[in-house]
Symmetry: C2
Subunit: 166 residues, 2 copies
DNA sequence: GGCAAGATTCAAAAGTCTCTGAAACTATGA
DNA sequence: TCATAGTTTCAGAGACTTTTGAATCTTGCC
């Protein structure tokens, strides 16, 4: 397999993986492209390599920057913006967890708190309350467990945690 | 808030949460409905409550059964099939992890193995190989960590693991 | 076997999410 | 200040996903 085939294959897979992880396909592809590029790339380079429009490239690059998965890299004496990818996998996963937690888990916890107080004390209502209570308990634990993970550093996570579990 | 409002609110949120977790909205709504129903429901009940078509109900119930999130419950003397939900949250999360791992992580690992052997030894190729190697290492660890989690039982996970981390 | 209740399938329709591209905007430096 | 290189926006087009509903299949009973 040649280098170009390898890159192509990698970018496609990363795109597929990303799109089932809450980041869009193109977003993941841009990240993949930057991961395997030895040098920073400009928006134009990215458009060209991935055959996407200017608008699309721009929107997805901004999103990646928001998620802290890509950083701007200004070259001295150049007006153009260049971009590089976060290459530490734990940071990548961590940043994705942070976003997903905010977007998914937290709204769910909010709803669970609201509905934990439905009126009535007939058996059906009691059953409902019990189910909600169980889910709330689990979600709160999951939430704080994720917080701990997210605040831990890369070395501890990859070196200690993953081995500890195994 | 009344019981019905609470249920409605719960079903909608669960649906939203689910759809960003790789299970479709309707699938998650059916699961939510079954979670908060004290008694098993038939396909017809589900169609009625969620206002969805027969085909849609059928397909999504099958999918939930495949994922082990819902079980058939046959009532003696009745031809109709009734359904109940998996109510242990850890089992729910666990089953979702199992499916996602199979669908996402494993294909990625396969690709990583293929592209780890690109030809050439120029600096660009070496850089590419290094990136791929790092990702492979991380993914393999993540894969086996998830295996361990998935094989652990509910009590250990919720009782010990989550507290240990915190 | 014949029948009906129920379950399943799948092509077409509806709905959702993503991308394009041209226009508007902004920053730089002469 | 103006010209220009570069960036951002967003309405409409296009791609992809989910849902519908009617036709088909299966099951158990007489």
């Amino acid at each position: 397999m040649t280098l170009d085939e390898g890159k192509e294959s990698f970018i496609q897979s990363w795109g597929t993986l990303g799109s089932s992880w809450g980041i869009t396909r193109t977003m993941a592809q841009i990240h993949a492209l930057l991961l395997v590029s030895p040098d920073p790339l400009s928006a134009e380079d990215i458009m060209e390599e991935l055959q996407i429009s200017r608008g699309n490239a721009n929107m997805n690059i901004r999103a990646l920057i928001d998620w802290n998965l890509v950083f701007k890299k200004l070259k001295t004496g150049e007006r153009k913006e260049y971009f590089i990818a976060e290459k530490d996998m734990w940071q990548v996963v961590r940043n994705i967890i942070i976003q997903r937690k905010k977007k998914d888990l937290e709204p769910m916890l909010k709803v669970l708190n609201e509905i934990a107080n439905v009126e009535g004390d007939d058996p059906e209502t009691e059953e409902f309350k019990k189910v909600v209570r169980d889910i709330k308990l689990f979600s709160n634990k999951a939430d704080s467990t994720l917080d701990t993970l997210v605040n831990s550093d890369s070395n501890w996570f990859v070196g200690t945690f993953m081995n500890m579990i195994k």
